[in-house]
């Protein structure tokens, strides 16, 4: 039974009359990746900033490793570090200078700070870019130097605020790999994201937040079984066969089918059918029904549920 790294109850932050975080309750176990999933403006960054002692809550409580984020802010700062949504390194300085600066601020002596900086640059594949200003780094390199800066002192808890937004697939994979290694070494990671796929791959628990509140919480498996394993998109050759295709798909999948604006397209959600069958298998069976009825399918694709679909399933309305 592990301790809690983060515990919040009724956490509130109000900007003017906008309740950015509105009674947030979280319990984040230590030693794993905890995903916070939410659309733009859900309050992810605001919540993370309060937990990292950068913003004072207007109500409720938050504890990090048992320390109150307001009254014991200094103790919290000693154990956490933050990689913000926007670069939290100095763009005018080089990668090396940034890391030495931080090393010095964390109390390393000059030589030790330089050694540490070199090790980090090496481990993050940035040795070649060590003496270039960070403003000339690519998006992926920026993220890496940012994460390197955050683990300089091997924090007990690392906040990663949307670490892969805006990155290409390769850079995204690099960040994912780094997160896995960091967690394997005992650091708890709180990761915010807009992508269910990312939370699903990395996190052992996920909280879905909307308008500053948790609207669903659980393991990725639990969440997916409540919202469905994905959806299948189908394009027919003949638009006149669509009503028939809609009926067949709904029967085969036991789930509602959505009619797209495009007259030949259909989207069906795949929900668990109780037989523990993979989404792909269910989808292929449904497609077989169509071909048996002589309906020609021009194109189809199978996708994980998008954030939109998660929200549709959880709130019956699209992500705000």
């Amino acid at each position: 039974m592990s301790d809690l790294a983060i515990e919040t109850s009724g956490l509130v932050k109000v900007f003017g009359d906008n309740r950015a975080v509105d009674g947030l309750d979280l319990a984040v176990p230590a030693g794993a990746v905890y995903g916070v999933l939410g659309p733009n403006g859900a309050g992810k960054t605001t919540a993370v900033r309060m937990l990292a002692t950068l913003l004072r809550p207007d109500g409720g409580q938050a504890r990090v490793f048992g320390h109150d984020v307001v009254r014991e802010a200094d103790a919290v700062r000693g154990r956490v570090s933050l990689t913000g949504q926007y670069a939290s390194v100095d763009e005018d300085l080089t990668g090396m200078e940034n890391l030495v600066l931080l090393g010095r601020l964390l109390g390393h002596r000059k030589a030790a700070a330089a050694d540490r900086a070199r090790e980090l640059l090496e481990a993050f594949g940035l040795t070649d870019a060590a003496d270039r200003q960070v403003k000339n780094y690519s998006g992926g390199m920026r993220r890496r130097i940012d994460i390197a800066a955050s683990i300089l002192n091997t924090p007990d808890l690392l906040f990663l605020d949307e670490p892969t937004t805006g990155l290409d697939p390769r850079s995204r994979n690099q960040v994912w790999d780094i997160v896995r290694i960091v967690v394997a070494h005992g650091t708890t990671v709180l990761l915010t994201t807009q992508y269910l796929e990312e939370a699903d791959r990395l996190a052992s628990r996920i909280a879905v937040i909307d308008h500053g509140k948790v609207i669903a919480e659980g393991t990725p498996g639990q969440l997916k079984s409540s919202i469905g394993a994905g959806s299948v998109h189908v394009r027919l050759r003949d638009p006149h066969r669509r009503p028939e295709a809609e009926r067949l798909l709904a029967e085969a999948l036991g789930a509602p089918v959505y009619i797209d604006a495009d007259p030949v397209a259909l989207t069906a959600r795949i929900i668990g059918n109780g037989r523990d069958e993979a989404a792909a298998e269910q989808a292929s069976r449904a497609l077989m029904e169509l071909s048996r009825a002589g309906i020609v399918v021009d194109d189809f694709s199978l996708g994980q549920p998008s954030l939109d679909e998660v929200f549709l399933a959880l709130t019956d309305k699209p992500a705000a």
Binding site: R49, A52, T53, L54, L55, R56, D74, R77, G78, V80, S81, L82, G84, Q85, Y86, A87, S88, V89, D90, E91, D92, L93, E97, L101, L102, R104, L105, L106, G107, H108, R109, A112, R116, E119, L120, E122, A123, F124, G125, L126, T127, D128, A129, Q133, S138, G140, M141, R144, A149, I151, N153, T154, Q174, D177, I178, I181, V182, A184, H185, T187
Partner: protein, 276 residues
């Protein structure tokens, strides 16, 4: 070797960095502040254009006032410069203190400020660091003006000691006065508004003083303001040091004003910094 783009994180190397559990004790307040001062120096190294403000502007001020007003106000430029140079030095340096607020404001808009604020260290260190960097710029501006003055015929009776003491007092006061701008840098939303407020404060403060002319030529109501203006006292103190007629009353006034500035605006700055 193009490892940067084709990089694949390796569990062993990243892990090795992570497992080196050697969290050193926190740096002292002074050492953290110096580190931030070093950062300011690095910024000057990478963006040397910023020194333009502390060199070109002062040179322009010195030349302009010496030749524009010298003849009219004191008979000749070379006579006027004996009187006006310490004043120009004070007003130019006090003018460039406003860049402190602009720098603070720029940093806040970037995420790096968040990282500094989330570090476990002496809270005012980043602010003190800015000001240490600025103290360097103030010294540089003073030196530039001094050199231009010497070329134009400025011959301070106070000698090397008087001049160095004058510059030290000026830089010390400006360091204290800059806390006003760190406060505005944190308080105001944009760089532009910081500039606007700075101008609004600095123009009257530097012009309605004894920098350019002797206040006894001014109407009484204006003299009343000029005589309580801290810049007037600073100019008198610096003038007295450079002129070899040390006025300890004025120097004490300046030092007390500097202490009050730090006490009030330093406190307000730190309150805003912690609240932000």
């Amino acid at each position: 070797m193009t490892t940067t783009e084709t990089y694949t994180p390796v569990a062993e190397t990243v892990g090795a960095v992570l497992s080196r559990q050697s969290r050193p004790p926190r740096p002292s307040a002074w050492s953290a502040s110096l580190t931030f001062g070093w950062r300011a120096m690095l910024k000057i190294k990478h963006v040397p254009e910023q020194l333009f403000d502390v060199t070109a502007f002062p040179i322009m001020m010195t030349l302009m006032f010496t030749y524009l007003f010298g003849g009219a106000l004191a008979g000749s430029p070379s006579q006027y410069i004996q009187f006006v140079l310490p004043g120009i030095m004070v007003s130019s340096v006090v003018m460039i203190t406003m860049y402190t607020g602009v720098e603070v404001n720029k940093d806040i808009e970037r995420g790096v400020f968040d990282r500094f604020r989330s570090l476990p260290m002496w809270r005012p260190a980043p602010m003190v660091g800015y000001l240490l960097g600025d103290a360097f710029r103030y010294t540089m501006a003073s030196t530039v003006i001094l050199v231009v003055g010497l070329i134009l015929g400025f011959r301070p009776p106070g000698g090397v000691v008087g001049v160095v003491a004058g510059i030290a007092l000026l830089v010390g006061f400006s360091f204290a006065f800059s806390w006003v701008w760190t406060m505005f840098g944190l308080l105001l939303r944009s760089e532009k508004s910081v500039m606007g407020v700075s101008m609004l404060v600095l123009f009257p403060l530097t012009f309605l003083s004894n920098v350019y002319v002797d206040p006894s030529t001014m109407p009484g109501w204006l003299q009343a303001f000029v005589n309580v203006n801290p810049i007037t006292h600073l100019v008198s103190a610096v003038r007295s040091l450079m002129g070899g007629t040390t006025d300890s009353g004025e120097i004490a006034w300046v030092l007390i004003a500097a202490a009050v500035c730090i006490a009030i605006f330093g406190t307000l700055t730190m309150r805003l910094y912690n609240r932000k």
